[in-house]
Homo-oligomer: 167 residues x 6
């Protein structure tokens, strides 16, 4: 399969936060942001794979600053790394007060998406053609997160075995 | 502050998946499930702290099996560990086909919630009184995830420094 | 058809009330609660019949106490009585303030559901195997409501006939 | 207080049923119709009382015929009877297929609404000035439903006492 | 094709404005009103044509007075003119405060709808049988708007040509 | 007041069309697109004026091509002209199929927005600093639309006067 550049699948969603996105104190729900992160990551993955995709994991999503009703949410997604049938998409969330123009970085999320063929089985995805220092750094960090994830799962499995406990 | 048991804050949400929760193929969006996980984790955290809480991080959420429109989603949350002003809540998601009664474990999620005082500043949370082998195992695993998270952040920071790159 | 126990179809829905469930004064709409009652009654009926069901009537639903945004609504449904192609489902609604843990009984509703076969025609439903004093009492009360409903309909029909009025 | 005519508070809501109002088979949920009945009954009650109102009970709501996505729902509400601080509102629901112009009577509902003063306490409502045979018949039938409701409640209370059971 | 009267397709939608229809200051969004105008215009067009229709243009919609949460919105649509495969529908929007009964004319909109056959291609629509001075005036004004629209498009096209600019 | 450039207030919204945005045939409602146009125009106007704004008119909105569920809607708004207390915002809507990357121009809309001071009265808006041939052309065309609008209103008023008709 032809490698595809990071640029080719870069995706963006922009949504104005309304009362239904927030609690009664006017703070946007974490769940609202998670849902939009899932949406924009799916968009980037579809563009990279040209296939239907499903979310396999949300790995580390941090909430740095609160978001308010009336602010503009911009979600930028790009593919960080591609493996055989899955890929990691990084999402950066920014909130802007449109009256003042102030922009704040509010969230970062990393999602693993799996491509599916027409029978719903995992399908091979195009390799990623990273270029430049930043894209290569992102690819290495995605690899590190993946290794840590697998190591953590293994560590927990071993601990449970030792203790004779079930999951 | 008085320690509180895991039992005291155990929480549950049960929702029937409708067409607005899914894509046009009838599969429930990952984002829908994330949003409900955030909701039920917030519920458990409020019950533990008796304070307003915000989501600080969603740490590892896996999607094991697809969920369909017409299925019943049950989300069970319990506090795994409590630190000074934050706590980890574990969420287990199960989907059931109400016609057959078949239940499948579809997701697991771990969220870090922070308690806030009336001025919106982080506030101390009651210690967790874990009891029994399973609750103690969950507490140790929450501690492991936290250590790994801090170590990963440190590792990425060091790598970037070495490379003279900016975040 | 094999009789089925009340326990086998007992159903529960749990939902956190948000701003879209309420009027601007923060009180949850009666209509929101009715809709959820219909949902949980349908769930119990599907579990009892293992068939598609439709709502035939909502018979007596009382609103005892107001419910507020931010409260947790728990709806518990169980089959009270089963007739040839229909059944009565009782729903008990409780509201809880998650900060204080106070629970209030806010509503009771009785719904008649009809089972449908694959052509959309009324289909026989399994008999109900009530057991114990409470379940038997509920069954008798369902029977009383049904008799009253039929008698009231007859009384109104007779009055209108006497008066030569049309419905 | 000045009596008010039935005409003065007659209310109507008209809504086009969309995909979010229905199940995946295209049938409109009973709960959707209940919610709109509550809305239009509240509207008629506000117009009669010129006060805030709450739903006290939904008494008998029948579902005669299924409603489909794409149909137009018309809900007509009028005050049937007024007591000291409450009133009964009758709602007639009709569904129309806008392509053929066919109209079907799909539901009837009777709701009891209570008027509230600015402190949220029950407030006196204007008497109803029924006029003509039909309005007077509706008022008598509302009275009958109210008597039956009170008698049924009493009957169930007595039965439970005899059996030494708790509610 | 048989001409159809204006009366035969006259349509109405009535909706109670809730918190999700408004901004946080309690003013109903212009977009909410536009969406309902599109809905009621589609309804009138379907009734006139007995065919599926799509919106071709929204031509001039004015917002005269603000609408508030808690008000009742009534949208009245009637066909003003019919051409070969399209028609103009006029919509009048009124807002009412149900406590005082005050009604205000808040919006007027003119939409052009196109009828489609079963293959999604423009289909002939029945002529309009206007009758009476008001209906004939509306038809002439619709014709004027159409001429102006075509003239404006032509004027802009000519100006751009002269300037050698692209659209 | 300091003039502001077109660039300074250029705004964008990007939304993925889901089942709730469309009819049951999978076509996105005209009303959905109108609502988003109103939203993005409001955003551009707020950025230009740094004040609260309301929609005064939607002037000419055309629907060139149908939009489908699953497509990505991008709405680009820019201020075309500024008068004393109002401004015209032009919106260009594009739909993209994310699997193929095909982008289609589906709609154009022109909205007049009015700025409000803290008492809700029309407030002066900053002049527009158009620069370059395209921005100047857009400003002239906005002026033409405004003149046509006023002339059409006058023409209709005169006709009605001549005929002794009321509006």
């Amino acid at each position: 399969m032809e490698p595809r550049t990071v640029e080719a699948s870069r995706s963006i969603l922009v949504k104005w936060m309304g009362p239904t996105d927030a609690n009664s104190a006017g703070f946007v729900h974490g769940g609202t942001v998670m849902k939009l992160c899932d949406e924009v990551a799916g968009l980037a993955a579809i563009r990279h794979c040209r296939l239907r995709v499903v979310t396999a994991a949300m790995d580390r999503m941090t909430f740095l600053l609160p978001i308010h009703v009336g602010e503009l949410l911009t979600l930028k997604a790009s593919v960080n790394a591609a493996w055989r049938t899955s890929l990691e998409v990084g999402v950066r969330v920014e909130a802007e007060d449109p009256r003042t123009g102030d922009v704040r970085h509010t969230n970062t999320a990393y999602l693993t998406m799996v491509a599916l063929d027409e029978h719903g089985r995992p399908a091979p995805v195009p390799p990623l053609a990273s270029s430049g220092a930043e894209e290569e750094r992102r690819e290495r960090e995605a690899q590190l997160r993946r290794s840590n994830r697998l190591a953590e799962r293994e560590e927990i499995r071993r601990r449970r075995e030792r203790a004779g406990e079930e999951a």
